[in-house]
């Protein structure tokens, strides 16, 4: 699978997440914070979010089945969950949290149950989509890094090859050919050196 195809795939997946309303501009802010010092920032934050939110969802579920329902505690858990959801740009999850809060504030247990199902559903969907997205992104980055390494290796071999000509010419006692003199001539460099070497060999 070539690099361009992978990149297109990654870009399309990301665009789809925004177009379908799973993510909002806050996710772009996370990407803006990713740099050489924090190369995996987005993935780390998203992983942290899903670890934390799994715990919070469990707490909410337990609070919902307790008798009587402690709406203040529910409100606290949902407050934290909504805060982190909005901070990573999880738009649909955030919206369901807002609906849940309304029922919770009203002390409406049935409403809380219903919207909590939606919260969990949106959370699970987002998790799956982001896992797939990061897998594709990692694949693209691996190919990208491999290509860079390959190009670097080829350039290194080329330089070594050029400098080996200098050694051969020196060995034959030829007038010193400075490679720097030919640097601007680009492709003609190799041809000129070969010609000088071959001529000297014939003279010998």
């Amino acid at each position: 699978m070539d690099r361009n195809h992978l990149k297109r795939q990654v870009d399309l997946m990301k665009r789809s997440l925004f177009d379908q309303g799973y993510l909002d501009e806050q996710f772009i802010q996370l990407e803006e914070l990713q740099d050489d010092d924090n190369p995996n920032f987005v993935e780390e934050i998203v992983t942290l979010f899903f670890n934390d939110s799994a715990r919070l969802l469990q707490n909410i579920e337990q609070a919902l089945v307790s008798v009587p329902i402690d709406f203040a505690r529910l409100d606290n858990y949902m407050h934290q969950f909504k805060g982190s959801s909005s901070s990573i740009g999880a738009k649909r999850v955030k919206n369901e949290c807002t609906r849940f809060k309304e029922y919770c504030t009203a002390g409406n247990a049935e409403g809380c149950f219903r919207t909590f199902v939606q919260v969990k559903q949106e959370h699970a969907i987002l998790r799956t989509k982001l896992e797939t997205y990061f897998q594709a992104y990692i694949s693209f980055m691996c190919v990208f890094v491999l290509v860079i390494f390959a190009l670097t290796y080829i350039c290194l071999l080329f330089c070594l090859y050029l400098f080996s000509w200098q050694d051969k010419l020196d060995h034959l006692g030829l007038q010193e050919v400075k490679l720097d003199d030919y640097m601007d001539e680009g492709g003609s460099l190799i041809i000129d050196l070969y010609y000088k070497y071959d001529k000297a060999h014939m003279i010998e």
């Binding site: 772009i28 990407e31 803006e32 924090n38 920032f41 934050i45 934390d52 407050h79 934290q80 805060g83």
Partner: protein
């Protein structure tokens, strides 16, 4: 990685321009003076994001999980240009934390932050000594004008 979009330009509250914000020109806004910030939030995700955002603008930032930890830090002599406090903290809530920080004589800019905006919470926070109160997420549109103000 990086979205193929322009860096979000911040419109300051005074409507000022956001020169130096455009990442596509290779420059990100950064504070001129040595600014420090403290993030007080019991949520790990929010703490991490807010800290990273402030640091990206050159603000030396620390983070703690509780109001008590924040009060203790300031009582030990630490000073901060900006303190961002979450509304619902365990044990000592945001407004109470702000009150205690002000009672210690702190002149820091205090920003109350919450997941669900509520006017009563806003009034409580402002009465406790906060300078402003916003709903999450903390974004460049909010942070940059504050940093510019503190920078000047």
């Amino acid at each position: 990685m990086g979205a193929a979009v322009d860096h979000v330009t911040a419109m300051g509250m005074s409507g000022g321009s956001a020169e130096g914000n455009d990442k596509s020109q290779g420059q990100r806004f950064s504070c001129k003076s040595k600014l420090t910030a403290l993030v007080v939030d019991n949520g790990g995700v929010c703490r991490a994001i807010q800290t990273a955002l402030l640091r990206s603008y050159g603000v030396d930032t620390e983070a703690v999980e509780t109001g008590e930890a924040a009060v203790e830090l300031i009582a030990s002599g630490a000073t901060f240009s900006l303190i961002i406090i979450e509304m619902l903290l365990p044990f000592m809530n945001g407004p109470e934390t702000a009150k205690q920080i002000r009672a210690m004589g702190s002149q820091s800019k205090i920003l109350g932050i919450t997941a669900f905006f509520d006017e009563r919470d806003q009034q409580e926070f402002l009465a406790a000594g906060a300078d402003d109160f916003i709903e999450k997420p903390l974004s460049p549109e909010i942070v940059i004008p504050i940093i510019r103000e503190l920078d000047n």
